[in-house]
Symmetry: C3
Subunit: 384 residues, 3 copies
Amino acid sequence: QTADSVAQAPATTKKWFESFAIRGYMQARYNRLLETNPDLSCEQCDRSWGNNGGFSLRRVRLILYGQLHERAYFYLQHDFASAPSGSTTVNFGQLRDAYLDLGLDKVNRFRLRIGQSKVPYGFENMQSSQNRLPLDRNDALNSALSNERDLGVMFYWAPTAVRQRFSRLVKDGLKGSGDYGVLGVGVFNGQTSNRPELNNERHVVARLSYPLVVGQQIIEPALQAYSGQYAVAKDQLSAGVKHRPDMNYLDQRVAATFVLYPQPFGVQAEYNAGRGPEFNPQTDSIETQPLHGGYVMLNYRLQYQQQQFYPFLRLQYYDGGKKHERDARSYTVREAELGVEWQPFSSFELVTMYTLSSRRFEDFQRPSNRQRGGLLRLQAQVNF
Amino acid sequence: QTADSVAQAPATTKKWFESFAIRGYMQARYNRLLETNPDLSCEQCDRSWGNNGGFSLRRVRLILYGQLHERAYFYLQHDFASAPSGSTTVNFGQLRDAYLDLGLDKVNRFRLRIGQSKVPYGFENMQSSQNRLPLDRNDALNSALSNERDLGVMFYWAPTAVRQRFSRLVKDGLKGSGDYGVLGVGVFNGQTSNRPELNNERHVVARLSYPLVVGQQIIEPALQAYSGQYAVAKDQLSAGVKHRPDMNYLDQRVAATFVLYPQPFGVQAEYNAGRGPEFNPQTDSIETQPLHGGYVMLNYRLQYQQQQFYPFLRLQYYDGGKKHERDARSYTVREAELGVEWQPFSSFELVTMYTLSSRRFEDFQRPSNRQRGGLLRLQAQVNF
Amino acid sequence: QTADSVAQAPATTKKWFESFAIRGYMQARYNRLLETNPDLSCEQCDRSWGNNGGFSLRRVRLILYGQLHERAYFYLQHDFASAPSGSTTVNFGQLRDAYLDLGLDKVNRFRLRIGQSKVPYGFENMQSSQNRLPLDRNDALNSALSNERDLGVMFYWAPTAVRQRFSRLVKDGLKGSGDYGVLGVGVFNGQTSNRPELNNERHVVARLSYPLVVGQQIIEPALQAYSGQYAVAKDQLSAGVKHRPDMNYLDQRVAATFVLYPQPFGVQAEYNAGRGPEFNPQTDSIETQPLHGGYVMLNYRLQYQQQQFYPFLRLQYYDGGKKHERDARSYTVREAELGVEWQPFSSFELVTMYTLSSRRFEDFQRPSNRQRGGLLRLQAQVNF
């Protein structure tokens, strides 16, 4: 803090607004049209699904980022559609990303990423919600990491040509993931984003991903895995549920990814399997259990003058727990989604999507709970 | 999220700082001078009134806004003087506005406003606190909407000439409301800003307002009304208070507005009547009850060199409930305020105001509570 | 709020990004290397010390500031590594500074500072965490003010030449405190930053500080004192702890400071004594008790090409209470820290520090608690 009003000459000749940039986006939603079952809901997807839901803000993001030095890049993202645990009022500002990329070489092929950032596990997890076609991420891989992020240190490597390709896949409207390296390895707390560490074990993660040019097309296969001990937090336990005395559970997964970028026809498929905490309604206890599931998405890119249309179909399946929800809630999910994203111009997008879903989600308070139904979902997005 | 440090060429030739702007304002207050009754207070007005109050920040606002495309305008406002429910620490960042204006025609006479924004009900509610003369809004119309806002979709229409007039009324220091259309109609959740929807009914609102040039003067009469079901939230109930089983209460109001803009003498008057939830101390229960009240304000604009002075006198009355307070607290308010706003230069304003007040505010915990008294109130405001 | 999309001509010819500036910094930490005692911790210093700690963000700061008019300067700082009381999720945005400097003369030798800002008590308290060498402030003087700030009105005076010297001491990498005047006097709530006032007494503070040029060296001796009534808050009391009926405790301190700026060898020493609330394990009660303590730090500035190195050694002692912690927790602290700050370039800093500590910290729940140990601490900081 330089708490004074005497004019300060800047250290460099760059003005402040040239040394970094600000951008953001907002998503407003309505999920209640053509709804057949108000008890069908999905906590991690969107809290405004189902009974007593209404208009909602799903994301209100503000991002500061910049290349401060040939070896230093920073990225700071807030969300203003978050709420502290226990608060009945919402829309408080909370961190998403806060990291520094330190280049180990001058052109940043080798980078150390320090701070809170996305854990390199899953293509759809890496891809920004600003670019994703379906309104919510798939349950199978997203259940690995609440808000996709954690605190730690990551190492990324990618050749310069591949870094430029990663960048172009976003810029050209091909819905890329951004640059999380060809190789990514890291160590992180393991309690997921914005939650303090609760044990003395760190998680480790590794990912290998390569965007290949095959004729006119680009495909990107990837493999990734993580492992650690997850500590179930006291405030997510129902009174009476049984659990391990130290509340620590094995938490490990491996996933495979295949992406064919939409030029104009695209395919995106991911699958993961592993073990983690899951509520067992038979024993009223949280136990380490196997989990598995994935999705396949077909999409198409249609350009009409300045406008973009992206029709898509996604089928997904998940059987396992969600470690960060009440009692490590137990899930079986079968879901089909058919929708279209329309961009009349670059600062506005409208997604219309029909969801047909069968979801079993059970915890100590609702030990037998399977819901089926359909609903139409709408989202308006502004990019600035 | 484009999580990479490879330089990205901007999609347009506009720099980020040319495509939108940032501005804000802050208000610091002190309310304890010449205070005659420390038990006189007003929760919705200003929590630092009365006993154990001290210096306070009433508003710390940060706004991002811009015309992103000929048909797309966005507005994003945070307040950093807010607190989550249940927290004893304060000054957290919370959303106020987050909306997109979609122009249905190229010059935006017809606009759809999507997201969280002010509900078009009442001139003083629409007018920014940055411009208002009295420190707090009147109880009669402000009790309709905590923080004046809600989540939904609004439609606004105004001819271009009127839009420019709305704009000029703010810019020229005449304390206008901004452009909420000649006609505004909308649908919104109904639980007021930053509170999730709690029932399956949406509120509807309509407003008609027209700024007329009459000789050298501009007057703006308006009519507005809204209707819906308000769900009293569990966390605002005292243990023991009686209420409807489903906690839903009819919530509807109609209001009339008259404004004569201060060139140099101004008049502002509003009145509303309706029905809503209100605590009844006779029955210890929350009941749907009639409500009514309004205010009249006289003001004057005095320019001396670069300085502006706005002396004002406001008289207000309200009899009814405040749906968003504890047990839908019951009020009878009679208040007179005499003050002056002084702007020595455009980035600084000082308001000095004497308040003489009689307030009955009763809930299950304080079923008989009428307070009278006077106090001097001070506010320093910086605009950036 | 000027809620419209009709283009507004700016009041001045300055663009928004020329009228104020945005900057910030982030600190990521890891404290678990070479740790000998996991029960050694320090709540006010860094919550990620010790058992179950992991990677953490200590500060994520965003600052807007600018000279808006020859007599008006504003400073608005948020931290995105804060959490509301009672929340188990973290990293919410919370205010640090929100103030306006009003120049009483045209060159701002005499200034009124209105709003939330640092209370002028202690050099290390005034110095920004962005510039400080040891990772945390010393217990002795920092225990006076949680987050160093409070809400109120301060008066500062300094001659123009001294204001420029204060500014240069920061800009030239000499780790100055910024400009809190040669003379500072003020009145403030007394409950420390982001906590509402809880009694009807304000605190008062005064400080005298002068940066003297002595040959090639600059020294800065200072004296400061404050006095007031601190109200222990209900939510910081353990069930069963005894306390004064009105919960108000005398809170007063006086401190002396000596700084020799590192050209290249530097010395920094501060000491304070006073009285305040402190838990007494013998009587299970919170009592007004004497407190005293201070520190001495030796440092050295080494420049190698563009790089800066600042090795430092700090020894500190504190015996007294921490009024803003549980039951006004009782402390005896003896600590030695040896470390180095490395700045390879201006936007990045790495601090490596070894801490050897003996800390007694006792409250009603842990009435006998003395911990000794050592640990290695790491911090990466990015400045933007």
